[in-house]
């Protein structure tokens, strides 16, 4: 439907072939589904918050990557609600052992300044991103690449990762430390975008006016806290944009932006809406408000190393005592999707019913609690979250549920500011269940599993460690096919569903609202709105 001509990616290892090559040029076909209605030209004014950075290697958060994705084109794109992988700059991405990957580029692409986008442009970009002194947010994406460690520390041993090797102008080789089936899936992330020489020479200047290779290019510099102005890149090799101009209007408060959308001063809010305004907006915008599933995930993680929580039945009981739908209805106007799994449904490898203890069943919950010997008398469950970010409301709702349905009295511990909260969590010093949120780096269920629950996982703060889980992850890493990998990772997820080191609560929903004359808006949770396909009606 959305992607005519786009290829379903079956990234096979044994075949060592991305069959995308066969369909080279397809992405160029510029007519979208409503292609006939879209007029060429116009200036689309888009709401964003002030990005931290917009140069791709550093555009790690939602606002920055929204801009970066309009400025850059990477090796692949994730298309549609099921995140199908489509080659953009890549001609092929192959490996025989999941460890050494050979990437072939399409020739003839250029940066906005005219530099050719070749193997060097990618190797340069990835080394610059990984190099610790550059402090780029995209750095950790390269952890799996051989030699990454040499680029770390205050005075790194090397400036280039040994795992990157240029074969020729359009071919380079990536060697990973360990086999990882999901590597090609990562490549669509902004951190993997190419970098022009002129940009590498002065990363800071480049952040003010990135030299990209995408469908839009900078018009002047980033006007901080006001706007980022882009114009169509007429020399673009991929699908050319309909719009003449793309202006990101920067707002401090999303409420103001919403008011400006109502008044017609901006054309689209591409990701978020003020939560309280959504019911109202549904009426006002009708089908111009897209409610799209987002893979952002909220859970109450449990310190499994602490006493009453060591017993998994307690964890299971708590999970069953929470009426997720009631909370979502009350706090999020029914928008979010109550979670029944640990990785988002619709994600490669994700399913929507893995978590049997995620059902609201107070009777069963009480029974499980009783089996576990009950809740220690007089003890209050301390619920932790970072201060000043609005988490208090839903946390209180969760606490109320525990109190009503299990008789566990609770205390909200929301006084730590985010840095201290995260540091305390990192140090495993939180004294009770805590807010845990996760947004994916790449569309694969593995991204929700290894970092959070793997033994020694980079963000594993629950203390959960299960050798069987780790083993199943490794099995996935070595899978022959990506689909197969997703399934194997799913088997690891099944262990979580029994052990419940974390209580999944809900998956976010993105709200995309746009004005009456705007058309061609497509959204997915990883890529956001693809502005190259957006335009105004004729």
């Amino acid at each position: 439907m959305h992607i005519r001509g786009g290829l379903r990616a079956a990234i096979g290892l044994s075949t060592a072939l991305l069959m995308l090559a066969a369909c080279g040029g397809t992405p160029q076909s510029s007519s979208g589904p409503e292609g006939g209605d879209i007029k060429d030209g116009g200036d689309l004014r888009v709401y964003i918050g002030e990005p931290r950075h917009i140069v791709a290697s550093n555009a790690g958060e939602s606002e920055g990557s929204t801009v970066a994705r309009a400025l850059y084109s990477g090796l692949i794109d994730y298309v549609g609600d099921d995140y199908k992988i489509v080659n953009v700059m890549a001609d092929s991405i192959k490996s025989t052992d999941n460890k050494v990957w050979t990437i072939k580029l399409k020739g003839g692409w250029a940066f906005h300044n005219g530099e050719a986008v070749n193997s060097d442009a990618y190797i340069r970009a990835w080394n610059a991103a990984a190099y610790a002194p550059n402090a780029q947010l995209g750095s950790h994406f390269f952890e799996r690449v051989d030699g990454y460690a040499d680029l770390q520390g205050k005075e790194p041993k090397a400036k280039e990762m040994s795992g990157l090797k240029k074969v020729d102008d359009t071919t380079f080789e990536v060697t990973l430390r360990q086999p990882f089936a999901g590597f090609p899936v990562m490549l669509g992330y902004v951190a993997f975008m190419p970098m022009a020489q002129a940009c590498a020479a002065d990363l800071k200047a480049c952040d003010e006016a990135p030299i990209g290779n995408g469908p839009f290019k900078m018009d002047g510099k980033w006007e901080h806290k006001q706007q980022v102005k882009l114009v169509r890149n007429n020399d673009y090799k991929g699908t050319k944009a309909h719009l003449d101009r793309l202006t990101f209007k920067i707002y401090d408060k999303i409420e103001t932006a919403y008011n400006d959308l109502l008044a017609g001063n901006i054309d689209i809010m591409p990701r978020r809406m003020p939560p309280a305004k959504v019911p109202e907006a549904r009426v006002k915008f009708g089908d111009r408000l897209l409610d799209k599933p987002s893979p952002s995930f909220t859970a109450v993680a449990i310190p499994t190393y602490l006493d009453p929580f060591k017993d998994k039945r307690i964890r299971q009981a708590m999970s069953m005592a929470i009426d997720r739908k009631a909370i979502v209805d009350a706090v999020y106007q029914g928008r979010y999707t109550p979670a029944k799994s640990f990785s988002p449904p619709g994600f490669p490898g994700g399913r929507d019913d893995t978590c049997k203890y995620c059902q609201f069943n107070p009777e069963k919950a009480k029974q499980l609690l009783a089996e576990a010997g009950g809740w220690p008398a007089g003890k209050k469950a301390e619920l932790w979250f970072n201060a000043g970010a609005g988490h208090d409301v839903w946390m209180q709702a969760v606490g109320d549920q525990l109190k009503r349905n299990l008789g566990i009295d609770y205390e909200l511990k929301g006084q730590l500011q985010q840095p201290e909260f995260l540091a305390t969590a990192d140090a495993k010093k939180l004294t009770g269940p805590y807010r845990s949120a996760w947004a994916p780096d790449y569309p694969l269920n593995e991204n929700y599993l290894t970092p959070l629950f793997g033994t020694g996982g980079s963000s594993n703060r629950t203390g959960y460690s299960n050798p069987e889980f780790d083993a199943r992850i490794v099995r996935g890493d070595n899978a022959k096919l990506l689909d197969e990998a997703g399934k194997l990772y799913g088997e690891a997820e099944d262990l979580l569903a029994e052990d419940m080191p974390s209580i999944p609560l809900w998956f976010d929903k993105a709200s995309v609202a746009f004005g009456e004359t705007v058309t061609g808006v497509e959204y997915n949770g990883v890529q956001g709105v693809n502005f190259a396909r957006v335009g105004f009606t004729k």
Binding site: E255, P274, P275, A276, K277, P279, E280, D323, A326, I327, D329, A330, V331, A387, G388, A389, G390, D392, V393, Q396, A397, D400, Q401, R404, L412, G414, Q415, L416, Q417, E420
Partner: protein, 302 residues
């Protein structure tokens, strides 16, 4: 016997005299205030709100933290006369319990500001010299820090934000204007002949300060303090709105307004209207009372 009786009587009379004495200007002011309907209405509002703060159970038997989530955002009805909030908590009970934070913040901060301001102002004005220089420069620093920004920086330093940390922030930032007023009054008063007269009698510094200087310097400070009470109630709400004030599960009008305002156009105006009405009435009452007090204490305007 007779002598004893007489001395008892005279002691009694002097006690009466004492009451009359302290009433002097205040008695006049009180007589004046009683004739002002606005002042009376303000005082009534303040008494009512204070009783909510001190004895919320007099006003409601509902626990504001007992929140059936199925009742989320109910509009006002017989069962919940102010409706419920998003978690289904009874909004009337919350509004009543919310008075406490506002009143404590206002009263305690103002008392502290008054105390610190008066002490610093008196010391600076009375002793002059380097004491004055040091205290005045110190006051300059805090005076020059814009109030809201100062509170922002100060509160961001603290690990947690409770009623007491907000009180502390307000007190730390709020005293300089008071100190200035008191200092100016003390400077104007300390060279008055009657102070010199008392000094020549051998009166101690303490006596001079508290018996002669302070009573004559207190009126402007007290008027300003009354207005501060109102300002602090409103500031607490603004801090909550900015996300650096009180935090739930604490209940305060500020939090309720800050959370409720986003629902105004979504069909739940009651979430803003009730706490805002209570807060505004309280602020208004404090300011109008301070205004009336100023008029009553200022003989020029009589």
């Amino acid at each position: 016997m007779t002598e004893q009786v007489e001395s008892v009587i005279s002691a009694d009379r002097s006690a009466q005299a004492g009451i009359e004495r302290s009433a002097s200007l205040w008695a006049d002011a009180w007589r004046d205030l009683r004739r002002r309907p606005v002042a009376i209405a303000s005082a009534v509002v303040i008494v009512l709100v204070s009783s909510m703060a001190a004895f919320p159970w007099l006003w409601t038997r509902t626990d504001p933290r007992d929140c059936p989530i199925q009742l989320s955002k109910a509009t006002p009805s017989a069962a919940h006369i102010f409706g419920t909030n998003e978690l289904g908590c009874d909004y009337y009970a919350m509004t009543i319990y919310g008075a406490r934070a506002s009143i404590i913040v206002a009263l305690v901060s103002t008392s502290l500001v008054l105390l610190v301001g008066a002490l610093v102002g008196m010391a600076a004005g009375f002793y002059g010299g380097w004491v004055d220089s040091v205290l005045s420069r110190l006051a300059d620093i805090f005076f020059a820090l814009p109030f809201l920004l100062g509170a922002l920086v100060f509160l961001s330093m603290l690990r947690s934000h409770s009623v007491w940390t907000i009180v502390l922030a307000f007190a730390v930032l709020g005293w300089p204007p008071l100190a200035r007023i008191v200092r100016a009054s003390v400077l104007a008063t300390k060279n008055m002949d009657y102070v010199q007269a008392a000094r020549s009698l051998g009166a101690s510094d303490r006596r001079l300060l508290f018996r002669h200087i302070l009573p004559n310097a207190a009126a402007p400070a007290i008027v300003v303090a009354t207005i501060l009470l109102g300002t602090y109630v409103a500031s607490e709400a603004t801090l909550s709105y900015l996300g650096i004030g009180l935090q739930p599960p604490e209940i305060s009008w500020g939090i309720m307004i800050a959370q409720g305002q986003s629902y105004v156009t979504s069909g739940y105006p009651h979430l803003l209207l009730f706490p805002a009405a209570f807060l505004s009435a309280t602020v208004l009452a404090f300011i109008l009372l301070g205004d009336a007090l100023r008029d009553a204490l200022d003989p020029k305007l009589r």
